[in-house]
Symmetry: C2
Subunit: 189 residues, 2 copies
């Protein structure tokens, strides 16, 4: 192999603090589940409380239907940090942080756990929003479905740093480096 093995830029991370920071920073996730043997992936919002991930999504009716009796899911969050522009097309990449969770999604039925989960989901999107806005009525709570996924099994990966170019490409007249990417929250309109 021409490629240097010394500069490992993409790696698995086995630190739950890193996992938690990624889950907490990402504003939404993608949930995969199996319907009649076929995969389905939908976006929804989430929040973490300790070793549990909570999902909520009014639009996610197919997921919520599937979790009536509990269903296996894979939940993935990905944060894009940069576009890695190498000298060669082959070594182009992205700097990112991602967590993939594997587990059984179950509906939360305990009213207290449900309220805690909704508070976490609301404040995850905007700090302190739970206390600012009108909290749910009993009727609204009944209409709201919350799903719990344990964080016991997950895979955290990231890539950081500059492109890794082949020795032979270093002197090529190609602009290379990293294009940093960030998400901006503008003021409330």
């Amino acid at each position: 192999m021409k490629r240097s093995t010394i500069r490992r830029t993409e790696r698995a991370v086995h630190d739950t603090a890193v996992r938690d920071a990624i889950l907490d920073e990402a504003l939404f996730c993608h949930v995969g589940f199996v319907v009649d043997g076929h995969p389905v992936v939908i976006p929804t919002i989430h929040a973490r409380i300790g070793e549990r991930l909570y999902l909520h999504g009014s639009g996610a009716s197919s997921l919520l239907g599937a979790t009536r009796k509990g269903t296996d899911v894979s939940v993935c969050v990905t944060i894009l940090d940069g576009l890695v522009m190498a000298k060669s097309v082959f070594h182009h990449s992205m700097n990112y942080r991602s967590v993939v969770v594997f587990g059984r999604a179950e509906r939360v039925t305990d009213p207290e756990e449900k309220l805690d989960a909704l508070e976490a989901i609301t404040n995850h999107v905007q700090a302190n929003r739970w206390d600012e806005a009108r909290q749910p009525t009993r009727e609204e709570l009944t209409q709201t479905v919350v799903v719990r996924v344990p964080l016991a099994e997950s895979s955290t990966k990231m890539r950081t740093g500059p492109p890794v170019d082949d020795e032979a490409d270093i002197d090529l007249d190609v602009r290379s480096g990293v294009v940093p990417m960030r998400v901006v929250r503008d003021p409330l309109v």
Copy 2:
């Protein structure tokens, strides 16, 4: 129901031009597939050529393994446009655009189609990058796996506009509106 049915803010879109614009704007996607009956979701990069979606990801070894003989996938791209802050927690939402594709992923073996797909994927991330950087050698092409998914079956959804508040909440002293979200590309470092 208290909630107004006149202001429909979340909706399915049956316009392939909208679908294509979302697929083209999103810089990466999440792919779901089934391994031994269990769902797996991973992030990877994509590009669209006409009615075909092409996927590539050196890190996506599990997907690439599954597609050796072709496998069903669900590919989802989601663009977050804003955080919808209603007067009540219950009506909080997000403005977004998403496409979920359902189809059979197959490896691209034709060298010309593979090259076209890689060019599209490279230029999708950064316009004209294919011509700027060193193009793949024969050996690099052999090492690269590209997967094709037809766009025949897909679901496009979006939410736009302000929060939908209940009549009874309108006069509550709660700051409400939309927090616009956008992704910023900084200059190459």
